[in-house]
């Protein structure tokens, strides 16, 4: 009985962890590669959820498809955000702390605007597969967890291939390490960072659609993800996509076990506690470049 509970919790945790990777992916690019502390990323994910909700409700499209359709708009928003950030902070060289407070303010504004427009009611999407389950013996897998896991894996793999195989992708990996060398290779650092933040925000659209498939969403849900995603990115070694995926799966499993054996109200603290311990003991993460 305990074993069944344990195995079910582990499987649920892996599925949850895959989804966390999708949420952390964008931050892994901005924070890990560009040193832009985009604390507002979880808020953008919530915007992705609401966009999905609107498309699903008005056009009846599949939520995941809706999320993918929204990516170009999110990409554009990310590009504009970087332009603004660059002109206001990066160019004047006071990015770290002012930039952090800036994104903190953006996060708050996004949340308040969502509350003003949609209220604090929980919103959800409709699709045929939500609510169905498959079972293997005593292990029960809800499709509303499996579909996000698969989509998250596809997206993470896609971003990984883009970053490691294409010229622009490799330029993104290089930009925080050596600006000058990048310029000598014929790439404009500002344009590359702009592209990277665009991609990072675009992943929030898909991650948001996955979030609202997993469960109903209201504007302040995003806050709980701040600890999780930063824990994942730092534990994963700042910007390594493989590390991010591994760390996300770990946190998913630990949270799921805590929720099963100690009660769901303790689960949100797991990510934050792991984050604090990581920062205090091993700030370079498990797979980090020291």
């Amino acid at each position: 009985m305990v074993l069944e509970l344990f195995l079910n919790a582990v499987v649920a945790g892996i599925l949850l962890g895959g989804f966390y990777a999708a949420v952390a992916l964008g931050l892994s690019i901005t924070f890990g590669q560009l040193d832009i502390v985009n604390i507002a990323h979880p808020a953008f994910v919530i915007v992705g959820s609401y966009t999905t909700y609107i498309i699903n409700e008005s056009l009846g499209l599949d939520p995941i498809l809706a999320g993918v359709l929204a990516t170009p708009i999110f990409f554009g928003a990310g590009v504009l955000l970087y332009r603004f950030y660059y002109v206001s902070f990066e160019r004047t060289g006071q990015e770290s702390l002012s930039g952090l407070a800036f994104f903190f303010g953006i996060m708050f504004i996004v949340e308040v605007v969502l509350i003003m427009v949609y209220g604090v009611d929980y919103r959800l999407v409709e699709a045929d597969y939500i609510g169905k389950t498959i079972s293997f013996g005593f292990i029960i897998i809800p499709i509303r967890m499996l579909a996000p896991f698969l989509m998250a894996s596809v997206m993470t793999l896609g971003v990984y291939l883009y970053l490691s195989r294409t010229f622009n992708g490799r330029a993104i990996l290089a930009v925080s390490q050596d600006r000058l060398a990048l310029q000598l290779m014929g790439a404009d650092p500002v344009k590359i960072k702009q592209l990277a933040l665009g991609i990072a925000v675009a992943t929030a659209a898909v991650a948001g659609s996955l979030l609202i498939i997993i469960g109903p969403v209201e504007p302040s849900v995003g806050r709980l993800y701040i600890g999780r995603v930063f824990a994942i990115v730092i534990l994963g070694g700042m910007g390594s996509i493989g590390g991010t995926m591994t760390a996300a799966l770990m946190i998913g499993v630990v949270e799921s076990l805590v929720a099963t054996f100690y009660g769901p109200s303790w689960a949100p603290a797991v990510g934050f506690i792991i984050l604090l311990v990581t920062l205090a003991i091993r700030p370079q993460g498990l797979f980090g470049r020291a």
Binding site: I39, I109, V112, I115, G227, A269, L279
Partner: protein, 306 residues
């Protein structure tokens, strides 16, 4: 400072609309929070996103001790200050390993951890919150809220006095050295760890002190309100809008933003007031990083040089 206190006393005698006291209480609480945040954020250069955590710990320490032993408010305030001060001390030791943006994120994590503990602590009501009964007697004041008003006014004056002392004394110069270049300060013999511990402990204690009377002010507290993100946002926004360089900045920021919030909440809506704070924070960080005090100083300088 004494003049402000006397003015407050006169205010309790003259004003009879209770709303003014409620509004002033909120603004004065904001003065304490902003002043406390600035001791670490402005003087020392460590950004704290977890102000709501220290505030909430203060509020919940007061609730727990009130429920367990029925202690009077002044003792509760002392205990809450000690408790949050200790947590501040712990956060100070964190700065040994965690610097810059990592410290800011760690404080945010700290706040959520304490909120989760409060949610799971049944003795103080858990997630559904706790009620506090207001006492029947209120010393020599006309009403309960007038007493709370004078209490928070005294606490606010006390905080500002401490903050001003810290900024003008040797400690303040040490803190400024840490803010500008921690490694250089350490090399020049500035006892950085000791100063940082003073800074984080005083900040934590002040926020705890601000949180302790809060349950008695609202009479009903749940984790969502005591650890509200708005408290953290205000604690950052007010010093940044007022100006972080001096002890005066946070006070001006708190009075301007806090006063505006009260007016907007009453005349438009409470959501609008949240939006305005967010927009003002982003606007001031991007356009006027030195805040209102900085703007006024620049203006005065320009006029003098003309």
């Amino acid at each position: 400072m004494a003049a402000v206190f006397i003015a407050g006393m006169i205010f309790t005698e003259v004003a009879d609309n209770e709303f003014y006291f409620f509004a002033s209480y909120v603004v004065l609480q904001a003065v304490i929070m902003a002043t406390a945040w600035n001791i670490l954020g402005g003087y020392t250069g460590y950004v704290n996103f977890g102000s709501a955590g220290f505030f909430g710990v203060g509020a919940y320490t007061a609730i727990a001790l009130h429920k367990a032993f029925g202690l009077p408010l002044p003792l509760l305030i002392l205990a809450a200050g000690a408790m949050s001060g200790l947590i501040g001390l712990g956060a100070g030791y964190l700065t040994l390993r965690i610097k810059g943006v990592y410290f800011a994120i760690a404080t945010l994590a700290l706040a959520i951890v304490f909120e989760t503990i409060a949610i799971n602590w049944e003795f103080v009501g858990g997630a559904s919150g706790a009620y506090i009964l207001t006492p029947e007697e209120f010393l020599f004041f006309d009403s309960y809220i007038e007493m709370l008003f004078m209490l928070i006014l005294s606490l606010a004056i006390g905080s500002v006095v401490v903050a001003r002392y810290l900024s003008t004394s040797r400690i303040g110069r040490g803190l400024a050295a840490i803010r500008d270049d921690e490694i250089a300060a350490e090399c020049n013999g500035v006892p950085t760890l000791k100063l940082k511990l003073i800074s984080t402990s005083v900040m934590g204690a002040m926020m705890g002190v601000a949180g302790a009377p809060y349950p008695f002010f609202v009479t009903y507290v749940d984790p969502a309100s005591a650890f509200n993100l708005l408290i953290a946002v205000n604690a950052i926004a007010m010093p940044m809008i007022g100006g972080t360089a001096t002890w005066l900045g946070p006070v001006i920021g708190a009075l301007v933003v806090g006063g505006m919030q009260e007016i907007i909440t009453v005349t438009i809506s409470s959501e609008m007031n949240l939006l305005v704070v967010g927009v003002m924070l982003v606007g001031f960080i991007t356009l006027a990083p030195k805040g209102i005090v900085g703007l006024v100083q620049d203006y005065l300088k320009k006029r003098r040089s003309r």
